[in-house]
Symmetry: C2
Subunit: 333 residues, 2 copies
């Protein structure tokens, strides 16, 4: 482990995505809620995999995708999450380290296998997630190294962690350490069902702990129990800190108190798979923020990364985001 | 195992592809010959994987890609190849069976793991293959079920099999059985280095055993030791049977004695990765041929499938080839 400064440390589920195309009837037949994330056990994962079409496997995990994107932009990130000492665990670790991500949580030598997420991509490019967390579910406060959190300008946490008691403790520890060192906490609401499960706690976190809040339109409306995005934006502005609110093809709105920026989406030739669009938006945004860029540039970098992710199967970038940023930012870079 | 008729049975290496982007300097540093296929052992595979960037894993194998494409067109194919009872073996089998491919060679319970191919995709979309055949190398004549060969209109074999003595015997057995039942043999030259290793035997096969010969421009020129594609076409016309000769962005030339058809390539928005372009061309061509289409339509179907394959990472189709064919063939379907 190096001891230089880090831009961002991500804490989240270590997962390899297993993606296939499916039609809407498949979702109905399997009882899946389109666009959602469902936690499944190993037996259900096996049965669902059997019924899926041919698959593509790519490393995933919400915060891990953000961290991979940030490394691809040229940032210096670290990641905290748990894998098993199995083949998927080796793939997950390889794909982070190949990007220069600091990742050294020792793989578990017993217990459940490395987590995977079975993803159905429908013809509308929407993705429906079925996550079997496996070894990832054992993430706990002991995995959070205080020195690493202290070295990172920003610690980024995914809302999904809140579903697991030990991970929630890891979350609390990371938040306390970061703030004790004058560092920032960024947080993604992850999923509307996740918001439904933890609304009161998430509202409390948003008001008191979170410096940079990521949410899509549905999640932020759910958080504040409103049908109006405009209402939700107003609520988000009342809290201390930044909120970056993504709206798919309508781009994003970035707010911080009196500042409100409406950010256009990147033009995309063909929308193939929206898996990871939010994660990659966060990657671009946090890369900009950690390098001291102003909010409109952070939003642009988010749009650029999200635009790349939706052009192919899987969340992880397949082209150089650093290069896309150089071209896309032009004069403002 | 069903006992209905099959369009095509493929025999080849059972392989899962592990793809990453790389620049030309990476190939030089690793001593790799761009565009070629190198057989590597497990230790070399491990070392090369460590030095590769983040990867995408997709089922592969030359003949297996062709068979997957044919199933995607709506054909009824079977596949013969060997996997181990490990995770990659399960992935390979899943991805064929999910398409309705008849595939029932029992996985090996001991010996080397399922084969994989480490693929570097350079910015020019060229792919450089490093195959660790693993369990696939144990393919032998006992794996070739006579009844299945007899049920298939066409048996398709990849040239790569010729590198392995037992697979070569499987090849000879399949050829003899197919011809004894009045069936056709299709064959791909696979790779210029493969042609270099086995030129005399391949020329003999092309003259006496092969009903449908697939080759790209470099392979057919190497086979006939000529620098002129026009010369190579003339030689291909002198043999009995069909030859489908692919030329990347120049499309393909399909010949059968006096018949010569020049087939245009499909327009492609963005060429991402040429892995499997030849395999998928063969898929479309053989689908047409097995359904009694004339040679220009077979060539068009080949172009359509190849055009789909080069638009994304990995060889296996990510969209419905049956649908692309319906749209692309229009009036002539």
């Amino acid at each position: 482990m190096s001891d230089g400064p880090l831009d961002v440390v991500g804490i989240g589920n270590a997962i390899v995505d297993v993606l296939s195309h499916a039609d809407d009837e498949f979702l109905v037949r399997e009882g899946l809620v389109k666009g959602g994330m469902t936690l499944i056990d190993a037996a259900r994962a096996e049965a669902l995999y059997e019924s899926m079409g041919p698959t593509v496997e790519v490393s995933g995990g919400s915060a891990a995708n953000t961290i991979a994107g940030l490394a691809n932009f040229g940032g210096r990130p670290g990641f905290v999450g748990r894998v098993r000492d199995d083949r998927l665990g080796a793939v997950f670790a390889h794909d982070l380290r190949a990007l220069g991500v600091e990742f050294d949580v020792a793989p578990a030598t017993e217990g459940p296998p490395t987590g995977r997420c079975l993803i159905l991509v429908t013809p509308d490019a929407q993705r429906t997630l079925n996550a079997c967390l496996g070894a990832g579910a054992d993430l706990g406060p002991d995995d959070v190294d205080e020195a690493r959190i202290a070295r990172a300008r920003i610690t980024f946490l995914e809302g999904y962690l809140w579903d697991l008691p030990a991970a929630k403790e890891a979350f609390r520890k990371a938040t306390a350490v970061a703030h004790a060192h004058g560092r920032k906490i960024a947080f993604s609401l992850s999923d509307t069902f996740c918001v439904d499960r933890w609304r009161e706690e998430f509202v409390h976190l948003a008001e008191h702990e979170i410096d940079v809040l990521f949410a899509n339109e549905e999640e932020i409306k759910s958080l504040y129990r409103t049908n109006s995005f405009d209402d939700a934006v107003r609520r988000a502005r009342e809290r201390r800190g930044i909120a970056a609110l993504t709206r798919s093809e309508k781009g994003s709105v970035v707010v911080s108190g009196d500042e409100v920026h409406v950010v256009d989406p990147e033009p995309v030739a063909s929308v193939v798979d929206t898996t990871g669009a939010g994660d990659l938006y966060a990657a671009g945004f946090l890369f900009g923020l950690s390098r001291g860029r102003d909010l409109p540039v952070c939003g642009r970098l988010g749009s650029i990364a999200a635009g790349e992710a939706i052009g192919h199967m899987g969340a992880r970038p397949e082209t150089s985001l650093a290069e896309l940023a150089r071209r896309g930012l032009g004069g403002i870079a």
